[in-house]
């Protein structure tokens, strides 16, 4: 058996190298993490006919179908072309030859929490916006992870992404409809940031503290609070896991409109193109940012964008996170633990 495989071409085509040298694994994108159930038949068919009968659900909300022979790739690319047409071409993603499978795998599936199609806390339809973003950033070979979450609960873990998009609501008060019950005040104090107080039996907000979670709208018995129909977003940037310096993303901007978010995401790619270290197989954008510094990143991200008056951008950036190090002083060995617990 001759195995002569163009590794780069295969992985760019969204096929994987696997722990078995004879087998590959198909990766399927599910932009926004929400799928018409009829497509599940396709996953099942490929897994049972070509794979080992199992399907893996990825953290990025795609499918991986393992145990497939390399020589079945072309046939399966053909099989999934309808799916690619339905889930990518149809929403406006430029894929000229869907019969050849996915054209790139660098920019990962755009994941999203379930959003307002199901979750009452959500401040927008995360899936629909994920589709907008998919068509803006995909296909692209740069390794970028993006995710959208409906509210600051951040169920999708937007804080672990290169850019995490968090829905914000701008609650507006119809003062005469406020009965001063303090439901919103107590709730914001206990669950959020304590942005509300009651003055003269009417509620008032400290705008510096309000993070736009929308909880006050949810709890008000008279609907005195309601959302401004404009949807706003907070962006957190350069979060990552990995073997060097894992860290949470830090707040970069808030009160952005959807158009501004999309423009910023578009700007990320020329920044990477300009600064990436091409001597590496791939360089993760967060490490590029560490090299260029925040100011340079910020300048590229905001290039040519006229921000709405409410928007705020971080002046400086401080990422948390830690280095794997050799500071052995930090670590107790099992013996010292046993001594200190008196065992």
């Amino acid at each position: 058996m001759i195995r002569d495989i163009n590794r780069k071409k295969v992985t760019k085509n969204a096929w994987r190298l696997t722990s078995s040298r004879n087998k590959t694994c198909l990766r399927i994108r599910v932009p926004g993490g929400h799928l018409d159930a009829r497509h599940l038949d396709l996953m099942k068919h490929i897994a049972q006919q070509f794979g080992n009968g199992t399907v893996h659900l990825t953290t990025r909300q795609g499918f991986e179908i393992p145990g497939i022979d390399f020589n079945a790739m072309a046939q399966i690319n053909e099989l999934i072309s309808e799916y690619i047409k339905e889930t990518e071409q149809k929403i406006g993603v430029q894929i000229p030859t869907p019969r050849e499978g996915y054209p790139s795998a660098g920019t990962r599936n755009i994941s999203a929490c379930i959003g307002n199609r199901v979750c009452p806390f959500a401040n927008y339809d995360t899936t629909s916006m994920a589709l907008e973003i998919e068509k803006t950033v995909y296909p692209n070979d740069f390794h970028v992870k993006l995710a959208l979450t409906g509210c600051p609960n951040d169920c999708i873990k937007a804080h672990m992404q290169d850019i995490g998009i968090i829905g914000q609501a701008l609650p507006e008060l119809e003062s005469q409809a406020c009965i001063g019950c303090e439901a919103c005040v107590k709730n914001c104090r206990k669950k959020v940031t304590n942005a509300l107080t009651v003055v003269d039996h009417k509620v008032e907000r400290d705008n510096r503290r309000c993070i736009g979670c929308g909880e006050c709208v949810l709890v008000c018995p008279t609907q005195a609070w309601s959302r401004n129909p404009v949807k706003y977003f907070r962006l957190v940037i350069m979060g990552r896991t990995g073997k060097k310096n894992p860290r949470l993303a830090a707040p970069f901007a808030e009160w952005l409109t959807q158009d501004e978010v999309i423009a910023i995401l578009k700007n990320l790619y020329p920044y990477i193109d300009r600064h990436i270290d091409r001597s590496l197989v791939k360089e993760h954008v967060g490490y590029i940012a560490d090299r260029t510094g925040y100011k340079e990143l910020r300048n590229w991200l905001l290039k040519g964008i006229k921000l709405n008056p409410r928007a705020r951008i971080a002046k400086t950036m401080q990422w948390s996170g830690y280095e794997y190090g050799y500071d052995t002083d930090r670590w107790d060995c099992s013996q010292t633990i046993a001594e200190s617990t008196g065992e």
Binding site: P120, G180, C181, A183, H201, T222, Q223, P229, K231
Partner: protein
């Protein structure tokens, strides 16, 4: 008289009357609903009949038009006290459903007939109000107007039915008949009202509440479930409680200010708080019991009909899925609640 009016004809009728009347109806405020990408359906002033929402129930009832959520009762400074006058002196025409018109007659009893003299603030707005009945061809799922006997409409100056591109209008009012006879065209319009609802309720029949009901264990369950959010009160067209506050314009000098009344409700924290921190009905179950007895016993004993009109709003709105209609039925299953008829 029955007339078919195109929307345009309706609107010029409204326009022509606008010097003397304001018109209110259920309208849609896009994106202003509790959840994102949902709309708030609420009563508001309209200038065209296309604004009227027919296929969804309003969150709050029409009562806020005659009983505003916040109302200034008087302004005072060191020397004088003045009562603010009504800003707009035009008459008020409200497009609403049968249950909501009945609900206003419940409020009338409380505000006009209950005390030694009528409540002047309510009275001066109420006097201006006329109802245009919106026909309920297809009641909403949670309505139980038939059970509460509020399905048969009363006290309306005209009734309307939505048809493609216009309204069918029926009126016996002389002044209206004269106006209507010059616009639109003759049509068939036999007013329908619901004879059956998706929700059926059997209110208690006896005049006096059996005393065992007071300590019944059914209320304990509500203590565990009700979160005292007050939505059932604020959405109810017959809840009439309010609290009164004085607000000073300048806190330091304390020389001038105003007295306001603001909606309150038996389920809402603080409603029964007294000076010194006493609270009469602490548990949510006790609050539910109070509301239930008031809506289907106490009020009836005094005024001869149930207070609840079966609009179903409290069932629609409760975040804990507590059903008041089912609560009424639970009460009615208890011994001593049936028999002697109203």
């Amino acid at each position: 008289m029955n007339r078919l009016l195109k929307n345009k004809e309706c609107n010029s009728l409204l326009g022509g009357l606008s010097a003397d009347y304001r018109f209110f109806a259920p309208v849609r405020r896009a994106g202003r609903g509790r959840l994102s990408d949902t709309d708030l359906i609420t009563y508001d002033q309209i200038s065209s009949v296309e604004e009227i929402v027919w296929d969804e129930k309003t969150l709050r009832s029409a009562k806020e038009i005659m009983f505003p959520i916040t109302e200034t009762l008087m302004r005072f400074d060191q020397k004088t006290i003045s009562q603010p006058s009504v800003v707009d002196n035009r008459g008020i025409v409200i497009f609403c459903r049968s249950c909501d018109i009945h609900a206003v007659s419940r409020l009338d009893k409380i505000f006009l007939d209950n005390g030694t003299s009528p409540d002047p603030y309510y009275e001066r707005l109420r006097e201006k109000i006329h109802f245009v009945l919106m026909e309920c061809a297809d009641p909403f799922k949670s309505c139980f107007c038939v059970s509460m006997k509020t399905n048969i409409p009363e006290k309306f100056i005209a009734a309307v039915r939505e048809v493609d591109g216009g309204l069918k209008v029926l009126s016996q009012r002389r002044t209206l008949v004269d106006k209507l006879s010059t616009i639109g065209s003759e049509c068939e319009f036999e007013l329908h009202y619901p004879k059956q609802n998706g929700t059926e309720v059997f209110p208690p029949q006896t005049l006096d509440m059996p005393s065992e009901l007071y300590d019944h264990e059914m209320w304990d369950e509500y203590s565990g479930r009700c979160i005292a959010c007050g939505r059932c009160n604020t959405s109810c067209p017959t809840c009439s409680c309010f609290s009164v506050h004085d607000v000073m314009y300048d806190k330091d000098s304390g020389q001038a200010g105003e007295r306001r009344r603001v909606w309150a409700g038996c389920h809402i924290d603080g409603f029964t708080d007294m000076a010194g921190g006493m609270e009469f009905r602490k548990s949510s179950g006790a609050r539910m019991r109070f509301k239930t007895f008031h809506k289907i016993y106490d009020y009836r004993k005094r005024f001869g009909e149930n207070m609840c009109v079966g609009c179903g709003r409290c069932d629609d709105i409760c975040p804990e899925y507590i059903s008041f209609s089912n609560c009424i039925n639970k009460v009615s299953e208890q011994p001593g609640t049936q028999g002697e008829s109203l």
